[in-house]
Amino acid sequence: MKSLKVNGVEQQFAPDQMPGTLAVLLDVLGVGPATVVAEVDGRVVRRDEFDRTELKPGQQIELIKLMGGG
């Protein structure tokens, strides 16, 4: 199994199911909001960069969205 740490939780993938890019990972997880932004090992990645951001096993990914706030 290969794994990614997404928002603090270990996500396991069979070797041939490992998402190749951030865009695929969002698709697999069903992440909806248009305002999602990511950090990959601490580096900020904009939404329009998701499909060219390749993922490697063991990376730490934070998926952040805008939500209601004051």
Binding site: P33, A34, G68, G70
Partner: protein
Amino acid sequence: MDKLTIAGRVFGSRLLVGTGKFASPQVMAAALEASGAEIVTVALRRVDIDNPADDTLREIDRERFLLLPNTSGARSAEEAVRLSRLARAATGINWVKLEVTPDPYYLLPCPVETLKAAEILVKDGFVVLPYINADPILAKRLEDVGTATVMPLGSPIGSNQGLKTRAALEIIVEQSNVPVVVDAGLGLPSHAAEAMEIGADAVLINTAIATAGDPVEMATAFKLAVEAGRKAYQAGPRASVRQAEASSPLTGFLRES
């Protein structure tokens, strides 16, 4: 009403509205519409992996409203800078409402970390709107650093206590060369009107609208109060005095003086 200019951008409304605590995205959208606001604040949070499609902001027309992300949750300058960079990536604009609130009980902003973060963010090209206590010296320091506004509190966030800091706010208004947006603690339209009457350039309301029995009606009430307060300020209110001053002429015929 005269226009509000922040960092060269012109707005027709002097009421900023926060998007937290609304019962539903639909109620939020209707309240924002009724408020006439053009700037709405939003927060950044982790996507809930168990509910990944959730999007409370889906009803907001981003062509119409400027989404102003805050750094709520940050307890240090470092955390606020990290959130600001994420916010810029999420919104595509470089505006940020800087909040650094290490105290979880009163949510009062830390002046030291706020100033430190503002310096870093301004150098990084951000338009910074810092949430601060009503501290005139800090307000000047932030202005010197290059923040676009100052956002002093009326009373603690969500407390509905109104303008507890009025005397200090009056000094900030007198001395500030950047727009003064009174943020936090305004619970009633009369509080917002009072802030505008003493010369605040704008107010930010969230809890008082979002948690009202009828948020849409309350948003309308705040809109009118902000307009009334602004007009009153421009009309030049007279100072209060201790003794009576007759409005009707007393020279009369009832008795000899």
